[in-house]
Structures are given as C-alpha cells and as structure tokens.
Symmetry: C2
C-alpha cells in the first residue's frame, strides 16, 4: 500500500475520536506499548489505538480504515515473538483485550465460545469445576484470539495438538468490514473450504478474529511426572522416539540441554546432574499411569538414562519440573542485563538429534551463549540466545545463528517456526521454506485483502492492488 | 465458464491422444464409469479420461486445459457420495489410480509419502509389520488423494480425527499447471497460511492433489470390543456423552437404531435384541482395556443398558461387530432391488438425541424406509434411505427427508455433511450453512482458479472471471 499522508490519517483519527472518545488513545506510551511484543524487534507504534468492546466496533474501525486504505493491526496481549503487532506501515491498532467475555460453555459438547480477548488462564478459571480444561499452553497468558492467529501451541501439543486442532470456528471481521463465521459446532464437517484453519495462523493478515469456538478436553483422572538424565543428546532423543513409537500417551515430554540444566541449577538453586535431561508428564487412570511410568523408565534405562525420578502429588511434580518451568529466566540469568532471542526450529523427530547437535555446534562456532529446551515430542526446540542488545556485532552473530537454525530445519524437511509464527521477522525464511506455494498465499491475500490493510508487511510480501 | 465448442474440445483431445496414446480413453463405457460415483446422482461422463502416471503428466493435462479453459476433473476410485466426479460441464477426467506408488515410509517419524492413487488398504498392507497403521476408514477402499479431497473420516474419527488431522502436506497441481507443496514433515508448524487444510476438503476445485504426506499411528497394543442395547435412543446417546466426558479413549463408538438392528438380524442371521444398540471398540494396554470396558459397562448400566457383551479375540470381536459391518447391505436387503441414499448430518453431541429422534419422526411422516447408523462419538449419523429409483414421487420424498435432516443439523449448530462432502448435491445447503463466509470461499476460488476449470460446479457456484 502507498504511504498515507498525515492528513488522511488525521482525518480518520478524528472520526475514531468522535466515535470512541477515550477508547481511541493517541498517547505515545500507549502507542509504544502496542507497537512491541516480547521479541527483540524494535517498537513500531501505530498512529492510534482503539479499545474495541464488540465485533461491531471492530467492523466499524475496519470499514473506516478500508475506505481510506489505512492499515489495521489487531492486538491481544502483545506476547507474540516475531514482531506480529508492530505497525510497520503505521495505521490503527485495535486492542481486543476488552472483548473478554466467555459467551458459552457447553460441557456436554466439550466446546465453548469466547471473545477474542479472553486469555487462556481466564478460560481455565471459568472451566474450573466442570471437569474440562483448555490445555493449549504457550507459556504466556496470551489471548485466545492471538493464540489462534499465530497457531500457538507449547508443551501440551504432543498430546492435545496446537490451536489448529482446537479451534472449531472463528468469527472474523474481513477487510471490507463484513463479519463471517467460519464453522459450526459439529466435531467434524466436510462442508466446503476450511476457512477456520485458513484464519488460524494467518496472523491477522486476512481478517481480525473477534470470537472463537474452542474445543475443550476432559481433565486427566490422574497426572504423574518423571525426570531423567542422559549421557548424550542422542540418547535422550532416541528415548523420545521409542516412547512415542510405543504409543505411550504422554501429556508432555520436554528436553533441556546440559547448559540449560546448569543455568536452572544456578537460578533455581537445584542440584540436577548437569547432563541432557528429559521431563515427562503422564496422564490417565491410576493403572494406566503406573504402566506408562514403568515403560518409560525401561526405555530410558535402555538408552543409558540416569537418575530416573518420578512423582505423583501436585507439589512433588511441580518440584520435579521446576527446572523446566524456569528455563527462560534461568537462561537470562546467565548474563545479567542481557536479553533473550528465542529461536523456534521444528523438524521431523528422526532429524531432531542431528538438528539439535548441529545447533549446539553453531552456538560454539559463533561464540554465543544459548541454552536449549525443546518440546521434543513434536521435534520443536528453542535456543534462548542470550545477547547484549547494544552490541551490534554480537546481535549480528545471533541473527546468523537463528538463520542457520532455520535453514537447517527447512533442509531437514522441517519448518522455520514450530509455534511462534512469521511476523515480519521470518519473511525470507517462509519464502525459502514454502517456495512456489507462496504464489497461492499471495493470491489468497490479494483475494481477501486487496488493499493490503490487514496487518500489512506480516507473513508475506504483498503490495496493494492498484 | 462458457460452454466450449465441440471443436475446441476435439482439438484438445487430439493433443491428449498424441501425448498419451491409449492412456487417453474416449470409449463410452470408460467415460460413463468415470462420470459416476456411488451416489444416486446421474452419470455425467467427461469428454475423455486420461490415465496419468506422474505429477508431470497431471500438470501437462491441466496446462492444456487451462489454455483452452476446459474443465479438469480428478478421479480416484469413484467412491464419493455427492456426485464429486461428475463432469457436469464436460471436460477431461484425470484418473489417478495408476499413480499408486508408496514413495516413503518413515517409521521413526510416523509419516509416509504416497502418490494420490494409493488406496488406504494398500497403504496399510505396506505398513504391515512396522507397528504402525493409517487408521482413517471411510468404509470404501478409497484412494488417499480422494479421501483428502473430501476430508473423509469414518468410524475411527472419534479417536484419530479425520483426513484434516492426518494430512501433513500435499503436492498439488494448480489451475495454471504450477506444482506446489503445501507443507513439510514437521509435526507442527506456524509457517504461513495453512494451505494443507485448504486443499483438504476442497474436492479438487482449487487444484489436483498428486502426492500426500500422511501421519501414521502406532497400532494399539490390544483391542477389545463391546455391544449393548438400550431402551431408547436417548439412553444410548446419553451413554455416549458420559463415556466421552469420562475421557475414556475409545477407538470407535457406533450406533444402530432399532430398524437397522432388525435389518442386520435378517441379513446376517443374527438374533440381537431389536433395540437401539451401541458398538464399542477399546484400544490400549491390557490394564487400561480392562478399566475401560468396566467403566463403559457401568455407564451403560446406569442408562438402562441391556445385554452388555464384550469380546477380546479378533474372531469374537468381528462377530460382535458383525451387525455394524453389514449395515449398508442389510439396509438395502429390506427392499430387494431398491437403492440406498446415504444422508450425512453431523451435530454437537448434546443435540444428537434431538436430531436423531426428529429424523426418525421425519422418516415415519414421509412414509419412507430408512434405518440409521452413526459415528455417534462425533455426532455424525447416516440414514440409508432405501428407495425405488424409478419411483419419482418416492425419490422426491427421499429428497425432502434429506433436506429436512440437513436444515435441522444446520439449525442445531451442526453441518449438512460430516464426511461425504458437498459435490454438486449439497450446494444449496452449504450456502445455507456457511452464509456470508461463502464470499470468502468464492474469492479464494476466483484467486486460485479464475477460469473455473478445476472440477467446476462442485462445492460452490462460481462463474469464470471474464
């Protein structure tokens, strides 16, 4: 899209002020806060922030922006990792956090209807006592609209899938202001194009998600946990493959490399053996749990596992998993005052050993500090590259590391992003990964947002249709 | 698209003959066979059938058709249910059944790569001995390309999901002849628009699937089965809801209504009590199976279940499930010489009792014979309307019944098709169900197939861009 003149934007803002009063904010602090997520990408403030309270209000803002071809950027909690909320071409940010009503909980159908600003913890608090939960857990207490937009997942994905698998239908405000509903409440459907999945992961570039119908899952009858160290990364990964191949229905299976364990020991005052370590969570009935724990111990043992420890009570489990929960802060504590850059490669499990070992070698070669953790049941691993953001040369080495990881993941049949999304940080790598299929993505973008007003500059490169 | 002149089509066919020789078939019998699926929709033969042997050949045919704006219809095994293969605007049928190579089986990653013409039974035969299987089972031994195209599912969906959940990536020939790959082999990805899901269920209207990367699943350690009668449809449905709410990981849960049980008794010489009946399949370890069977029996008992019977050996299980396996033929045998029309409503489980009871009442009101079976764990149920196809008045009552079922399913938050797709039999109902979101579907169709050559007239109404 062509850069809008200040006059055009001022005119639009005047309209918005008239309609939304104080809920149209122009202050620098609020604009800055809305132009930045948790990533290292610089703040790109929008020209104004509208705090919407209803789908109709979102549609009204989009309609006005559409008329003037001015960008619209949706904002949930600002916990994305690839600059997804930056107003890189200016425009109006629509903050959806006030749209936080849980509209329906259908316990018999294991589904619910929420506004896009509801956060996952808020939903789970509401579900308390129903025997159901919403298990997708990206770490942050993100908004469900934002989680759908980035196709988020996290530690539970090995059992429950990602947002892709747990969104049943979306209400979406389209670029022309039209409000559509992408699906229904049936557990399955063969009715037409899968628009629900198309908008899930589109990062607001095709429309703004305003309401969601989500699947819920029965709470597991019992939960237990285990932890085990391994002589090598390869031995740990081989354990993961065998556990999954055995059909053991794990709740979570997480990996920490040696440096990450060291970091956690220091940060959380633990004394775990400083070796590659797996963390397991088991879910099921008491009898099935006992079986699972025993089978996993046997497999770990076959692979040279050391210090296999399990726990059943909530408190003991939390203690056993402590190191896993602290990874981010423990990593940052390795270099006080520094910043973390999270990488997000995901590969077929059989390639995980190769990808992870090569990543560790890259870290050494580039002289960086970057402990590793991973949702290894999915082949997804993160480095937390701990850097001094004021050291341009070091930042450039960090960028190089991230690029190597992504290129390698792609060459191994994997992806440059398992769960963080593209934002504007990974445009080049999406093109590398998806090749000619970018033509289809661009054609879809052109079809649904010809004026390129929906979160422009994200996911793909596209210029408005003249 | 505008009707093509005979001359234009003759010219194209001459080209195809030159390139494909005998693999470009013009005989009436072959054309008729390719213009008909298992539905009651009349035969709509294509102008020619090309038996493709490679993606390059498919791309070559599509490129030629694109140049002349002549329709292309993909054909797998012809086992679709809504006229999906009918050449309703004429054109060239591409038969993919010769593209039947299993290209890769990655047992460590639980994935495989197949050509689109591979059937599900062929794939499972290949997987024999690996400890893995491909569980999606729509009944027919359909091609995997066709199953992806219609987003097929079947009895296993309650545990393994549908094709939507089991396709990891697709190779697709686009309308302009370009060949794209929609995804990779990572278990999850947040990389760009979900084209894999977009082509899954698009019924060949956006492109032709030529290869698939599919997920596989570990074979269950043990399997057992059970069957139980209920005093009423409501009691059976309530049992289903409670079993699922208890988090019991069923392999299958199927329902037969009283008339269907009667039909099966007659057809298969059984003596099941003629009452609404549930069929269960359990999967897991021995200890977990024992628990599951016991829990389900207790829940069935609470709901007035009678004659709860379980079985563990393969032979005993087959016998226990005999009636379920025979439903279609048993239904047809109620009126020898007649034909079956399968309906395919799917609703939220809490509405299943209401939808199924109303369906039975409709059958009575309309004086039809239509036993019911259902994948009730998904809220999906089928009537087999047994009709005399030569009796126009009866056929019109059958159509009325189907319409009532679809309207009711939609009004209950469900869908007009759980697993059969839209074809050209359900265009009106898709529009009713999806409302304004049809605009987005049409925009996508226009973007990816502006000349409307890809299986035109299916899924949605669209005229070529002038």
């Amino acid at each position: 899209m062509n850069a809008k003149t200040k006059g055009e934007i001022a005119q639009l803002i005047a309209h918005l002020k008239q309609r939304f009063g104080d809920r149209c904010a122009l202050g620098q602090a609020i604009r800055d806060q809305h132009g930045k997520d948790v990533s290292f990408h610089p703040t790109r403030p929008p020209d104004a922030v509208v705090f919407a309270q209803s789908t109709q209000e979102v549609a009204a803002v989009v309609t006005l922006c559409h008329a003037s071809s001015i960008p619209v950027i949706p904002f949930g909690t600002g916990t994305s990792c690839e600059g997804g909320v930056g107003a890189i071409e200016g425009g109006i940010c629509i903050d959806l956090s006030h749209m936080s009503a849980i509209l329906q909980v259908n316990t018999a159908d294991f589904d619910c209807r929420v506004q896009a600003g509801v956060t996952r913890k808020q939903l789970n608090a509401e579900l308390h006592g129903t025997g159901l939960h919403f298990p997708i857990d990206p770490g942050a207490d993100a908004s469900l609209g934002g989680m759908a937009s980035t196709r988020a997942s996290g530690t539970n994905a090995v059992r429950y899938g990602t947002m892709r698998d747990n969104v049943m239908s979306l209400q979406v405000v389209m670029a022309n202001g039209e409000v559509i509903e992408t699906g229904g409440r049936a557990k399955k459907s063969a009715a037409g194009y899968d628009l629900t999945r198309l908008f899930t992961g589109a990062e607001g570039t095709l429309g703004i998600i305003t309401e969601l119908t989500l699947r819920q899952h029965p709470l597991p009858e019992c939960v237990s946990a285990a932890r085990c160290g391994f002589p090598s990364l390869e031995a740990a990964i081989e354990t993961v493959i065998q556990v999954i191949q055995a059909g053991i229905p794990l709740g979570r299976i997480e990996f920490l490399d040696e440096l990450q364990v060291t970091a956690c020991n220091r940060y959380s005052k633990l004394d775990l053996p400083e070796m590659p370590t797996l963390f397991f969570e088991f879910q099921g009935s008491p009898a099935s749990l006992a079986e699972q724990v025993e089978m996993v111990e046997a497999i770990a043992d076959d692979n040279g596992g050391a210090g296999y420890t399990s726990a059943t009570t909530t408190e003991a489990r939390a203690q056993l998993w402590q190191a896993r929960h602290d990874v981010w802060w423990a990593a940052l504590a390795l270099r006080p005052g520094c910043q973390g850059i999270p990488t997000d490669a995901c590969v077929p499990i059989s390639k995980l050993g190769e990808a992870a070992a090569a990543a560790q070698q890259d870290v050494l070669d580039l002289g960086l500090i970057a402990p590793m953790c991973g949702h290894v049941g999915d082949g997804n691993f993160h480095l937390c590259i701990v850097v001094n953001p004021d050291d341009a040369e070091e930042m450039s080495r960090a960028e190089d590391l991230n690029a190597r990881l992504m290129r390698r993941a792609i060459s191994l049949g994997g992806t440059c992003t398992g769960e963080h999304g593209i934002g504007y940080g990974k445009l080049d790598f999406l093109e590398l990964e998806r090749g000619l299929s970018m033509h289809a993505m661009v054609a879809i973008k052109r079809a649904l947002d010809p004026r390129n007003i929906m979160n422009p500059g994200k996911v793909l490169r596209f210029a408005a249709v003249p």
